[in-house]
């Protein structure tokens, strides 16, 4: 069986809600039924076959070709299976994803991996603001799984994050790890202002020294035995994080945010 492939025929002016096109919803559906599904497009509804050429039949392996930045809610609440996006993806990629895998070749919009519960999300380009965050008004962001970003991420990455890993090969914007309750964010590049703002618990693992903050206390240099174990868990990824030369176990430790609970930690690579 070949992958169920949606090839975008035209770029609509208004945004498209792609949430009906996920593996668990399309499983067992005939090609004609899928073609007749409607997607919300701005304030109109549009048939799937008006927007996409459809080929293949394996609903557990969906490919979206010619994708661009106005296709929102790709992989919403995905429960098993794999979605491959060739091109960019819009906002809310993998919103509330339960399991399975999503890979995007290009950039993604805001709120990627928002309130994600489990699974694996790879973004080969850049990600927008609020990566792995909570929806406005909610108090729990990403609750599990792993997000790997090969480019840069916007502001507020991991806002209200609860559990899971966010691995960033590039730079992170301002307020990285803000209001985090728990979980791990690793950033190989630079970080912006207000790192760990109102962070309660959780770990920020950094390769570069962040801007100093009065809200974090310097706890000195440490050799941490858990770091080699953490790096070993990254070995399976197709990423710089899997490279043995990226690993370290000697860090400067900062605890904060002291205006909150203060049990979060920022670990910065030494040497």
């Amino acid at each position: 069986m070949s992958a169920l492939t949606f090839t975008l025929k035209l770029k609509p002016d208004q945004r498209v809600d792609m949430s009906p096109l996920v593996c668990h919803k399309l499983d067992g559906m005939q090609a004609a039924e899928i073609a007749a599904l409607t997607l919300q497009n701005g304030k109109r509804k549009i048939r799937v076959d008006e927007l996409f050429d459809i080929a293949g039949s394996d609903a557990q392996n969906i490919v979206i070709k010619n994708s661009f930045g106005k296709l929102d809610f790709i992989g919403k609440e995905l429960d098993g299976g794999r979605i491959t996006v060739e091109g960019d993806a819009g906002a809310y990629l993998g919103l509330g994803m339960k399991s399975g895998e999503i890979e995007v070749s290009g950039d993604v919009g805001i709120y990627a991996a928002c309130e994600m519960k489990k699974g694996f999300l790879t973004i080969n380009g850049n990600a927008g603001d609020f990566l792995g965050a909570a929806l406005p008004g909610n108090k729990m962001g990403m609750k599990g799984g792993t997000v790997l970003v090969k480019g840069n991420v916007g502001e507020r990455a991991g806002d209200h994050m609860r559990r899971g890993n966010i691995l960033i090969e590039g730079n992170a914007g301002d307020y990285c790890g803000s209001r985090m309750t728990a979980g791990t964010i690793a950033v190989m590049g630079q970080t912006g202002k207000y790192l760990g703002f109102a962070m309660r618990r959780g770990t920020l693992l950094l390769w570069n020294q962040p801007q100093a903050s009065a809200r974090f206390n310097d706890c000195g240099a440490h050799t941490l035995a858990f770091l080699p174990i953490l790096f070993a868990s990254f070995k399976k990824f197709n990423s710089k994080f899997a490279d043995g030369s990226a690993a370290f176990n000697r860090v400067q430790r900062y605890a904060g945010d002291m205006s909150e609970m203060g049990r979060g930690e920022v670990l910065v690579k030494i040497g």
């Binding site: 945004r15 809600d17 919300q40 304030k43 929806l135 008004g137 909610n138 108090k139």
Partner: protein
Amino acid sequence: MLTRLTGGQLFDPAQGLNGTVQDLFIRDGVIISELDSGVAIDADYDVSGKIVMAGAVDIHSHIAGGNVNTARLLLPEQHRNYMARKLGHAFSTARWSTTETGYRYAQMGYTTVVEPAVLPANALDAHLQMADIPIIDTAGLAILGNDDFLLRLLRAKASQNQVNDYVAWTLQATRCLGLKVINAGGANAFKSNVRSFALDDVVPDYGVSSRQILQTLQRAACDIQLPHPVHVHCNNLGLPGNVDTAIATMEAAQGLPMHLAHIQFYGYGNEGGRGFSSAAAKLIDGFNQHRNITMDVGQVLFGQTVTISGDVIAQYSRRNDATPNKWVMWDAECEGSGGAVPYRYQQKSFVNSLQWLIGLEIFLLAEDPWRLFFTTDHPNGGPFTRYPHLIRLLMDYDFRLECMAELNQEAVAMSLLKELKKEFSLYEIAVMTRTAAARMLGLKDRGHLMPGAIADIAVYTPEADKEAMFSAADLVFKNGELAVKNGVVQQRRNGATQMIQLPFDRQIKRELQAYYDRFYNLSLDNFKVEDVSFRQADSERFVSHDAGQPYSACREAAANTIYQ
């Protein structure tokens, strides 16, 4: 424009009509008496077999103002911006947007709604929001009793006349219809770290008691001839044993008219193993002895809601019960305070079940729809959209039993609701939600179907399931225009805001100008409601009503005993 409704069963307590079949005529937005034969009718509606009532009047529902906006901001999850826009315009999926407020009320046959807590400093905001509510008419009640200016007057032992002028000026400046007092002095005391405040407690630094503030304002409302009695949110809201506070407040009214709001939250005893019990019987006993008192219920209905109140002491004390876990408290400069705490009433909860039972006990024990009004204190006890459900509870004993089976049985065992077999009639519903409500507010032009009334009319199809019946009216006319047909809004028309016209001594204005210049960051002009660019001209936006004798329920009831 001449409109006729033919063959409907009229329920109009003002005329003693209890299902009488009679035609109704509307000319240019006003109900008129029967016509001579041969006059051409422009629009003819056959409503035979249907129920015809005046448009309903909600005396207490928080639909506009600072607290309402705070709640909207606090709970974005209640109005996720879905792409599909159900009503075809911006914000139509918001809970509760001004549009949805107007539409949903109109669909149920409501045509006038009172926002009962307009903080004078926030009056402009409240009015801008009310101006944005389509279809229905609105009105505000201005809050006094925690403001520094009044407490200064009392501390300085100012004359009652000065207070009267201040109250009259406030109602004019805020363009409100009546006077609201919330836990008199409590919000001010909260600023001095007081965390519980009873009727005879004294506000620190001012040396005046809650009772003194309340009685002074009540006297002012009578002196300036406010038709709507002072609208009181008592002390100790929600505390076990607070029925004594409610009774003491009735005593404190000294025989003068007073309205006690959302009284369900004061029907609590402190008996039983959990120290929380129903005191509805005791409350109603007091209510029957004090004929000068009117009350509304503030029924609790199960589900998610948000409590918003200017009673910051009560709100602060329940902040740890917030569901979801987030809340806002605020203090206003020189005026009151308040807070928004989201809350979910649950059937499995002993306390929530008992609150539900107590509310219904009050409804059914009171047996006087002329003095007891129908509210959920929207959104505090439940959203106004659930009114049809509550009407069914009142009109259907078997449905009550069904609902009781779902509750916490420990609470049910403590309640006498099973013994109360009374079922409200359509006539009594019309009294409670129409005629008495409009009269108590001093709105003579509505709440009835007599010639001269504005043509606010609701037509329903009789059904055994009263919830279905009252959820979607067949026809709703607002000022004679067809606003709703078969439960669907036909046109987005503007409502008007009702206010009271009162005289006062101009001297008070000079004193207030000086006070604002000294104590506020903004000039008095910034708070003015006039000369603001409402979409409508001020003359269309505001409708003035005359001062007059306060509502006296016993008099109304006596005048209406001719029916039945």
